[in-house]
């Protein structure tokens, strides 16, 4: 299970729907990073490990 989290301009971490598909999680995170709307984007696993950060 992968959860995408993003840091908004006001320095608050948010998360969205969790997914089992690692490619979908990674590509969603890249899309968020590419929007330029967020200070940071990351993907974390169920046990809290960060597997992607941008």
């Amino acid at each position: 299970m992968y959860t995408i989290q993003w840091l908004s301009e006001n320095c608050i971490w948010h998360s969205s729907h969790s997914v089992n598909s690692e490619p979908a999680a990674m590509q969603a995170a890249l899309r968020l990073a590419n929007t330029g709307r967020y200070r940071a984007v990351r993907v974390i696993t169920r046990n809290g490990a960060v597997v992607f950060s941008a």
Binding site: W6, I12, V19, A24, A25, Q27, R31, A33, A54
Partner: protein, 154 residues
């Protein structure tokens, strides 16, 4: 032959710059099978997604549009040269149902089932597996805009 300016391919350098990442990280994702892309000549490219999320009114994300590079034969849709436009509405429960269905269909231990029926605004569309990852990623991007869950302060 694919030229460098072909819209289907984005150099990892350009893509990484937009995402504020190192190009080598994108190459690793490609090699791990987590991002579509390939090496052409001496450069690495990311395949442009088949699904774009467009916000007609960026200040109000209640409605958005998915522009899908696809061929449609009736309600059956597969990745291709045409364009399919699907409207997303924040109050449409089918959007979240669609994301759950796509995620389940992409499960590691399930054989691909073609196609997957997804309902947006009470209209069913049969999506070929060539579009599942891009569609799921675009739906997550929209969820991030309209339905963020507070996690904590930095």
């Amino acid at each position: 032959m694919v030229s460098e300016r072909h819209p289907k391919w984005i150099t990892v350098e350009d893509y990484a710059g937009d995402a504020d990442m190192a190009p080598s990280e994108l190459v690793s994702l490609i090699l791990d099978g987590l991002l579509p892309g390939e090496r052409q000549g001496n450069r690495w490219y990311v395949a442009a997604p088949h699904v774009d999320l467009v916000l007609p009114q960026p200040a109000a994300a209640n409605t958005a549009v998915l522009k899908i590079t696809a061929c449609a034969l009736g309600s059956y849709v597969t990745a291709g040269r045409g364009e399919l436009v699907v409207t997303l509405r924040a109050d449409d429960p089918g959007r979240r149902v669609a994301l759950v269905a796509l995620d389940a269909a992409m499960g590691k231990h399930k054989p691909p089932r073609l196609p997957l029926a997804v309902v947006f605004n009470e209209e069913a569309v049969l999506f070929d597996s060539s579009l599942w990852v891009d569609l799921a990623a675009a739906l997550i991007e929209y969820e991030a805009l309209i339905n963020p869950t507070f996690v904590g302060l930095l």
